[in-house]
Amino acid sequence: MLSRVADSLYWMSRYIERAENVARFLDVNVHMTLDLPMGAVEQWEPLVATTGDDAMFDERYGTSKATRENAIKFLAFDQTNPNSIVSCLRAARENARSVRQFITLEMWEHVNKFYMMVNSSTAPLRAFEAPHDFFGDIMMASHGFLGITDATMSHGEGWNFCHVGRMLERADKTSRLLDVKYFMLLPSVGYVGSPYDDILWSAVLRSTSAFEMYRKAHQQISPDRVVEFLVLDPEFPRAIHHCVIKAEESLRAISGTPGGTFRNQAEQRLGRIRAELDYVQVEEIIRDGLHEFLDDLQDRLNASGQAIFDTFFALRPIDNAGVSKKGSREQ
């Protein structure tokens, strides 16, 4: 398939996944703050930090304090924040539009509708007044897109590029969430052993849709087990290990390279991350420092993304900025 098409499929998929994650973070945080004692520090600053855009946030809304209002505004509706939900969906739709001949009609109509839902003039009001409904709709629309993609598009190269994009994005978001939350939560000694400890750690699990699956696996909530579940579980769909396994499978499906070997840098880098996650134990991670581990992991995931770009998309660097918008008079 065309490199440009593969590139657009990858990013279309990534942006939808990103929007879903931001929606879930917001949803969970709104809920969690309802359970915390009045006057407790709300968790909006760490939430903004999770997205990695805290510097931009400070620049726009001042360093003083992230509130529920300005965090939702910034993360969901700020058109100038490239990672806000509305910006992600615009980018997803633009990418979809540029490969409309490749994706199915059902996929296109879904992305189009999804974007219109978030970009409608009534959306911000709904997000403030009925956040659970609104963010829930976004998550469902993202799941809907995944389902439609699976059910209408041939599971060939294009589908696999969509899948790699989605899995890498998800791995990145889970690692960021865990990184920020773990260090926010650990020092709050006052809550240790209190019902709030449970509430806060449950929120971490809920932020990755992991609460129910975690309960089935471990019942009691403990920080180490939460870390183990979100980093190392091979089966839970938002666990980093699972995402890396699936991304690697898709890469191999694209190139036809057998497992345990590699033919390009993308496979080499991702295969290496996978090998480590296959064998590392949570005790080692905690002992050597979770933050250091996650930070390094994020760097390596980014490097894998770059290698995918270099291997499959960038056969020639192209400067897009100067492209004329004309070139065809309408007859």
Partner: protein, 476 residues
């Protein structure tokens, strides 16, 4: 909602012979529409508009930063073309495209028609759309204008007239196909009762034509649609056609010329392309052959084309037959090559290049429409009946300074079709663009784009200025 109070107001109405009396071909349609329950038609109209938005069937508006896409307004009352009427039109379009292809080929080879003095040589050489790079070019199978979208209007005398030929990259056929889909969903029973010829075969016919052009040594040719990109106003159509044909949609940056072939960049390396349905103007096609500042095209493409290793549809250079002054000579061109009279007429045209015509035009500016030869979209135009003394003086000066660049035509009275306006019907002016494919044979799609000026009294059907579209039902 009924047509009891519908007025034709002395215009030629495509559905009504006279107020209250439908034309024969439209009788069933009118009967079915009137039998719908009160309010139903408006509901269906709203549903059709919703469907267009949901499907993202939109066009881009240049210079509009926020909402860069709009729906092309759509009215659910179809325009009907009766069978006998269509058959004449079909023959006329075939004849016209066949002759124009001979003309273009002649212009870039022997130039017999110039030597015989039928078309003045000076006109060709001064035409901005004449491409010297195309002299001696031998396009595959000798075909230049593979896709044509002829603009026609029907005057109050009931006859069709060709307004423009559009032999370069005519757009709009995607709306023809999508409008039909919407109509079949919106008014299935009405549609079923009317015995309408299908339009769905267009993408297959287009693909057949493209494959027909491929270099003969290639057993299983790869075709692609070449688009300037998502910012182009007709991008929807480019992707639509690529998808319908199941071929790649490529941009200039996806392609590269190497080893005398055109290759596309894929995730597994470079793969050859054999036919391009290009929706990029000649000027932007190849910066080495045409405009050097073009970033949209493929450097070296024209050399590969000359060597017969890729086919282009349409061939470069066809714009010469789109020049508004050359247009005036088309009846003579048909006569010259085919020894036949034109089946579909031109709008009578005064060519300011000819002294006698020029004199007439300058004396009758207040009744004529004056057009510049190479402008479109209403630029460089004088509409005599609506002009001021000052404008006419200005145009007279321009014509005298550069007579080659101007033609004049009498003001036409465009036919009308009913549209839904709130709770009743009103007549609105329409034009018509059928699509013609020239491959193994010449195929005229039984249907076409009916553009409608939705503003009351307006004659401007362009989408950028309040125009919309209708489905066109050619009856079996």
């Amino acid at each position: 909602m009924d047509f009891r109070n519908y007025q034709t107001e002395n215009f030629f109405d495509e559905l009504f012979r006279a107020p209250g009396t439908p034309r024969d071909g439209a009788a069933m349609l009118i009967q079915k529409l009137e039998s719908l329950e009160e309010g139903e038609l408006r509901e269906r109209q709203a549903a059709a508009e919703q469907a267009l938005l949901r499907m993202g069937i939109t066009f881009n508006v240049y210079g509009d930063k926020s909402g860069t896409e709009r729906i092309f307004p759509f009215d659910v009352i179809p325009r009907i073309v009766e069978s006998a009427d269509w058959k004449v039109l079909e023959r006329g379009l075939r004849q016209r495209v066949y002759a124009l292809n001979l003309f273009i080929n002649d212009i870039y080879h022997e130039q017999k028609i110039l030597k015989d003095g039928v078309v003045p040589r000076e006109l060709i050489e001064s035409a901005t759309s004449f491409r010297r790079q195309c002299i001696g070019l031998k396009p595959p199978r000798g075909i230049w204008c593979h896709v044509t979208g002829t603009d026609l209007v029907r005057h109050s005398d009931g006859n069709w007239y060709v307004l423009e030929d559009n032999l370069r990259t005519p757009s709009g056929v995607s709306y023809v196909l999508e409008n039909r889909q919407i109509m079949k969903r919106t008014l299935p029973l009405v549609f079923e009762a009317c015995n309408v010829l299908p339009v769905a075969e267009y993408p297959s016919k287009l693909l057949d034509m493209l494959h027909y052009l491929a270099p003969e040594h290639v057993a299983d040719p790869t075709a692609a649609v070449l688009t300037p990109g998502v910012f182009n106003s007709a991008y929807f159509e480019h992707s639509f056609l690529a998808k319908q044909m199941g071929v790649e949609l490529v941009e200039g940056r996806d392609l590269v010329v190497a080893d005398g072939r055109v290759l596309m960049r894929t995730t597994k390396g470079f793969e050859p392309i054999h036919v391009l349905y290009r929706r990029i103007d000649d000027d932007f096609l190849d910066p080495m052959a045409f405009r050097p500042d073009s970033l949209l095209g493929v450097p070296g493409l024209l050399d590969v084309y000359r060597a017969g290793r890729i086919a282009l549809a349409n061939a470069p250079g066809t714009g010469i037959a789109d020049d508004k002054v050359i247009y005036a000579y088309v009846p003579k061109i048909i006569k010259y090559y085919l020894n036949e009279d034109a089946i579909v007429s031109n709008v009578p045209t005064y060519v300011c290049f000819e002294p006698k015509d020029r004199k007439y035009v300058l004396e009758h500016l207040e009744t004529l429409v004056v057009k510049a030869a190479n402008e479109s979209g209403g630029y460089g135009m004088l509409v005599g009946p609506h002009s001021t003394e000052e404008q006419r003086t200005e145009f007279a000066k321009r014509i005298e300074a550069n007579p080659r660049n101007y033609i004049a035509q009498p003001t036409l009275s465009l036919s009308r079709v009913p549209v839904i306006v709130d709770d009743h019907f009103e007549g609105r002016h329409v034009d018509f663009r059928p699509y013609i494919l020239y491959g193994k044979d010449i195929f005229v799609l039984p249907g076409g784009l009916t553009r409608v000026a939705l503003k009351k009294g307006s004659l401007v059907v362009n989408s950028s200025q309040g125009g919309g579209s209708k489905d066109t039902w050619v009856l079996a």
